[in-house]
């Protein structure tokens, strides 16, 4: 009998297979370091607009040699973190408020205050916007946009469902009653998208109650447990009565085309105001922008910049990098080429330059920001180190409640426990 299966051979092949598997797990990386590195995150519209900007810059600065790298938001941060750890971060990078403190507190970003008023002109930006990336007296980024939370409303769908129209006088209570009514009577629609997992809208809710989400030093949570309990109870009740879709529907939300409002499952969604431009193409009916519901008193909203151009502290071309940043936010042609793909432009001059038609989604977004800018309370300081960890946990815990994997009380306890570890 000859089967060729000897012990030695099997052992050898098995080990070789394992070694091959471990080798296959290795990737490769590395990048050149000749010109000026520029990186950003975003979707295709952002990539296209940014490439155009780079071309424009190259026309005006023939000696500049810009290397770009870009990816979707989620993938961007792995690469940036690794590059930063290897001290090879791009000279100019798009930075999000979610990560600003993580990077700035750990010395990865250059202080730009020395350039402001000189290389970088922030004269056109509103103070709240221009200061958005300041931490402990240093400025770690230049705002790309003025951003505020908003409600997106599909009025035609509301009319089709036979529900009364909504306006900005809505309170959280009246909104819930209205949403549950609409969902309950229509049978195939839900009143609103589930926002129980939105840490940002929750921030507005907390601010209405008179406190900020985080303490001034960013080392802890400033709101009461009861506020979070109310919030999650509120949305749990909404899901139970068709005011919001069940958790399994919301768990499918990823890109804009999967938003329940895009699929025509609900007439109300929430997001950052410029998102209307990405959302509208998926909705056949026109969307309107309203301020989100309030508790009845003052609004908890604020207008500030949540995305920045930052410069790496390890950059050896900081002066050139600052010039590029100034171009990105102030150059007339750059402003026109960008439009609102990075959000509503951060200055009144840029807005006037764009001269958008107020009936377009972009125009509506710009109008909304201009309209609420004067009336909303002062913006909170930059989000603290550990923000991103809490942001994803917040969504996950709301999901746990929705799938009945956790009670509201347990979820609140888990969030406060995690905050203790994440914030410092």
């Amino acid at each position: 009998m000859n089967t060729n299966f000897t012990r030695r051979r099997m052992l050898g092949t098995t080990l070789a297979g394992m070694a091959a598997a471990s080798l296959a797990a290795c990737g490769s990386g590395g990048s050149g370091d000749s010109g000026l590195g520029l990186s950003w995150y975003g979707g295709d519209p952002v990539h296209e607009a940014m490439k155009k900007l780079v071309e424009l810059y190259a026309e005006k600065h023939p000696d500049a040699d810009i290397t770009t790298q870009y990816s979707a938001f989620a993938d961007y941060w792995d690469k940036l973190a690794t590059q930063t750890a290897g001290r090879s971060a791009p000279d100019v990078m798009r930075m999000s408020m979610s990560y600003l403190s993580d990077y700035a507190d750990r010395g990865a970003l250059a202080d730009l205050s020395q350039y402001v008023g000189d290389t970088i002109d922030l004269g056109d930006q509103a103070p709240d916007v221009a200061d958005s990336a300041s931490l402990d007296g240093a400025l770690y980024g230049v705002g790309q946009s003025s951003i505020a939370l908003a409600a997106f409303v599909d009025r035609e769908l509301i009319a089709q469902a036979g529900a009364p129209d909504v306006d900005e006088s809505w309170t959280w209570d009246s909104f819930a009653a209205w949403a549950k009514d609409l969902g309950g009577s229509s049978g195939d629609l839900y009143g609103s998208m589930d926002q129980g997992g939105s840490f940002q809208l929750f921030e507005a809710y907390v601010r209405e109650a008179g406190t900020e989400v985080f303490t001034d030093d960013g080392a802890g949570l400033a709101f009461d447990r009861a506020v979070l309990e109310q919030w999650w109870e509120y949305w749990h009740d909404m899901r139970a009565h068709r005011g919001a879709p069940p958790a399994s529907v919301s768990a499918e939300v990823a890109s804009f085309d999967t938003w329940p409002i895009a699929k025509g499952l609900t007439p109300v969604g929430f997001g950052f105001v410029q998102q209307i431009a990405f959302l509208q193409p998926y909705v056949d009916r026109p969307l309107d922008i309203l301020t989100p519901p309030t508790t009845g008193g003052t609004s908890g909203l604020y207008v500030k910049s949540l995305d920045f151009w930052s410069i790496a502290s390890t950059s050896s071309h900081q002066d050139e990098a600052a010039e590029l940043v100034d171009f990105l936010v102030n150059d007339d042609e750059a402003i026109t080429a960008l439009g609102v793909v990075l959000g509503v432009p951060p200055s009144q001059r840029a807005i006037e330059l764009l001269g958008l038609d107020p009936s377009t989604p972009e125009g509506k977004a710009v109008d909304y920001v201009s309209r609420i800018s004067g009336s909303v309370p002062e913006a909170p300081p930059a989000w603290p180190v550990g923000y991103n960890e809490l942001l994803t946990l917040f969504t996950k815990l709301n999901q746990d409640i929705g799938f009945e994997e956790s009670s509201v009380a347990d979820a609140v306890a888990a969030f406060f426990d995690a905050a203790e570890g994440a914030l410092s």
Binding site: F5, A16, M18, L23, A74, T84, S248, A251, T392
Partner: protein
């Protein structure tokens, strides 16, 4: 690792002979020279990073600042980390459900294909294809769509009269199941290995068995299975290791979140989130070492247990 054995043999050969020691020395030098690329690879790509990773696992390291030594704190922290323990549970369910089903499917198809049918090469390729594609991002994206609320699976169910079926990837009770199906579907690699093994089973054994009146099933259980136990063993070891390391599928199907509600949060995915999402590289490195120990332990158990069921022809 077999190269290390060669090296050792070369060394002992040197000690044994004194006559042609100069030639032996030259030969040894040549051997080291030829081994150099492999050794460089071992040191730079495998051993070096592993040593660094072990050091980092003993530190608090946020990627952006210098690591700070904390001893075994990261390992101790894991004991109280509920999400980590959940991720272990998810990973174990995935490994111990998907690997047996996958191997059973692979063996069954291999046996069918081994009957000397026409167009074997074609069928072999067709069944192997998923193995090439299964780990890819594109398939994971496709999977998300297939099992979504208005995916093909639910449209099929609607035809059968089941209306408004849930989204399989968005429900914590079924999401992991879709990933298990995806892994089972990639049975091609073990199948090809089984097929090669089946062809090595001597026909004379079957002839003798039919003369003795053994039926198909009896032949399979009494001849085929025992003879190919080394092949089964090989596949079990490799597929278990492979399944423990699964990442891409869960990452894409859950949109990177391991959701819904951590139901597809593989250990590897949690490790990734901890390291790159939360900047806790020390903790993530410690997790990687725990995964290595788990995989090593299961491999050792497999090798130990193989003494009782694997039949070698030597």
């Amino acid at each position: 690792m077999s190269a290390l054995g060669e090296l050792r043999r070369l060394r002992s050969a040197k000690g044994g002979t004194t006559v042609a020691s100069k030639a032996a020395k030259q030969e040894e030098r040549a051997a080291y020279l030829f081994l150099l690329p492999w050794l460089a690879g071992l040191v730079l790509i495998t051993a070096g990073p592993m040593a660094i990773s072990f050091y980092i696992s003993l530190t608090d390291y946020n990627l952006l600042q210098a690591p700070e030594f904390v001893g075994l704190q990261n390992y101790l922290d894991m004991l109280g980390d509920d999400r980590l323990q959940n991720s272990l549970r998810v990973t174990f369910v995935y490994v111990f459900v998907s690997v047996p089903i996958q191997l059973a499917a692979a063996l069954a198809i291999a046996v069918l294909l081994n009957r000397g049918m026409k167009g074997l090469a074609f069928y072999r390729s067709v069944y192997y294809l998923p193995s090439l594609l299964g780990g890819s991002v594109a398939i994971a994206v496709l999977w998300r769509t297939l099992f979504g609320s208005d995916g093909i699976v639910n449209r099929g169910l609607a035809v059968l009269g089941v209306e408004n079926a849930p989204s399989w990837v968005a429900d914590p009770s079924t999401a992991l199941g879709t990933l298990i199906i995806l892994n089972v579907w990639t049975f091609g690699a073990p199948m090809v290995i089984f097929l090669a093994g089946l062809r090595q089973v001597p026909a004379s054994l079957y002839e003798a068995a039919s003369v003795d009146g053994a039926g198909r099933w009896r032949q399979f259980t009494r001849i085929t299975l025992p003879v190919i136990t080394p092949i089964i063993f090989f596949n079990v070891v490799l597929q278990i290791i492979h399944a423990f390391q699964a990442f891409t599928q869960a990452f894409i199907v859950s949109g990177g979140s391991g959701g819904p509600s951590d139901s597809t949060m593989f250990f590897t995915l949690y490790l990734y989130q901890t390291g790159f999402g939360n900047f806790q590289m020390g903790y993530a490195s410690a997790m990687a070492w725990v995964l290595l120990i788990i995989i090593a332990a299961f491999t050792a158990i497999n090798f130990w247990a193989s003494r009782f069921w694997v039949f070698y022809d030597d």
